[in-house]
Amino acid sequence: MTAHAEKTLLPAGLEDALPPRAELEATVIERLIASFGKHGYRRVKPPLIEFEESLLSGPGRTLAEQTFRLMDPQSHRMLGVRPDITVQIARIASSRLRSEPRPLRLSYAGQVLRVRGGQLRPERQFAQAGFELIGATGVTADAEVLVVAAEALAGVAVEHLSVDITMPMLVPQLCRDLGLPQDVNATVRTALDRKDAGALVTLGEGHRRLFQGLLAAAGPADEALATLRRLALPVGARPMVEELAALLAAVRQALPDLVLTVDPGESRGFEYHTGVSFTVFARGVRGELGRGGRYELESGESATGFTVYLDSLMRAVTPPPSAPRLFLPFGTSAAEARRWRQEGWQTVAALQSSPDAAAEARRLGCTHIVSLGKAQALA
């Protein structure tokens, strides 16, 4: 008995998803993809495993230490199991679909595998669903991605959605403009990522005021924008602020009720991004549901994308009441059974006769039973 139970142990971060969770996750993915599709994003399906060198190039390089590797017995080359699908979409867009008209709209969903689970995401295998807008630049493209993402999430019953917009290029630009040395640069970025105003005291008066101003600007979008505009930013950084203003205006117009926050100083986790980025949260749900933003393909093309993590998303989705299941007593004809299913029932057929059909139906978790040609609710 124990020996058998031990064999059911799974490695850390891996699990068997059971009903109804597995069903709900599949439904949610389908609805997300359908929602992306309604905005013109067409689905692609890259493989689970590919050559390490293509998987870990370009935007993929930040995920190198999260990638499971194995040797391909056939080609004797190193393979990687995808830790993220975005990289694969970038590869497809700049290779096989390079002559497709731009902007190119692609969507995807699938499982990814990571070497280590995080604190908030102990899962090492989880599903990702997302879409990429490739070959379009500017605020209209960023706004489209943000709006499509928010609509898709609202469409799978996520409540109290909140989108945080970050500008990962702003702080590096400021450090360049101000001519800050490398080590100061690192201190500033860590301090801003942790919102640790105390760590900024080592800076000179002027710089300190600027970066503390950035910290103070984090918050509800409109106030953040006003604070940013008041800051004495160097000339190089000003266009970024105006770009942000245009993006906020565009998103507001499409989704007036969406909660928007801005965090101009944060850049953690957006290392490969080259423009405005965003993270989606839901109130009361730990961790982020998904993230997106602008980045550059290896070909030099610009792209904006969004990806949602199904493990976090499932914590935010309100599960629908479970579907009614109809018990078909032994001897129900195939034609009648088909009729019930066509009416929309999930049917559970008895495989042998039993003295008490209702008890048998209950034992199998059915909510209804066919009796005298009618579907009757079981007490």
Binding site: Q119, K195, G198, T261, R268, F281
Partner: protein, 222 residues
Amino acid sequence: MDRQQTIVFAVPKGRILGQALPLLAAAGIVPEAAFGDEDARQLRFSTNVHGLDLVRVRSFDVVTFVAFGAADLGIAGSDDLLEFESPEVYAPLDLGIGRCRLVVAEPAAMLSEDDPAHWSHIRVATKYPELTRRYFAARGVHAECIKLNGALELAPSLGLCRRIVDLVETGATLKANGLVEVETIAEVSSRLVVNRAALKTRPDEIGRWIKRFAEVVGRGSA
């Protein structure tokens, strides 16, 4: 649904609590009477502020509660923040309480013949294995850590290991046990900490509390 409305504020038991309570009071947070009762079994307390509850947990656990979003706000030592290193925790404000230093110490007798520059592998007793490992790894030294939860000063004299990494306020305990500081790893103080998702999804409410504490701290140091 309750968790979506109420803000949960985690405060540390023990040493820091006495210094934290006046700050909370100055920010306008007064817990219910049972909070002051050390023997009470209750762990969660309401306050005079509607929709704000206090939980009293061990100081190290404050960071864990806040990292997982079980608490939205908290008061945590920068030592615990460094040990835990969670991207989900923001530390926007130095509260200026619970000041001490995190140091490497060893027996006074050893110091004369020991040159830290020669170290390649050391064994250390500490409450902070992660932070200690990282600190020494950055200098090219492999630190093998023995996790202890208290009475670290005993470790060298009883032969558990020769060095310790521990918090020092005045240095009296070290001295009494024949230990001397070799180097300081970090200056420590308590921070106001905030859960990342909480700050993003409730920017107004959480932002207001950060501002209020900043005013209180600003007044204190002025």
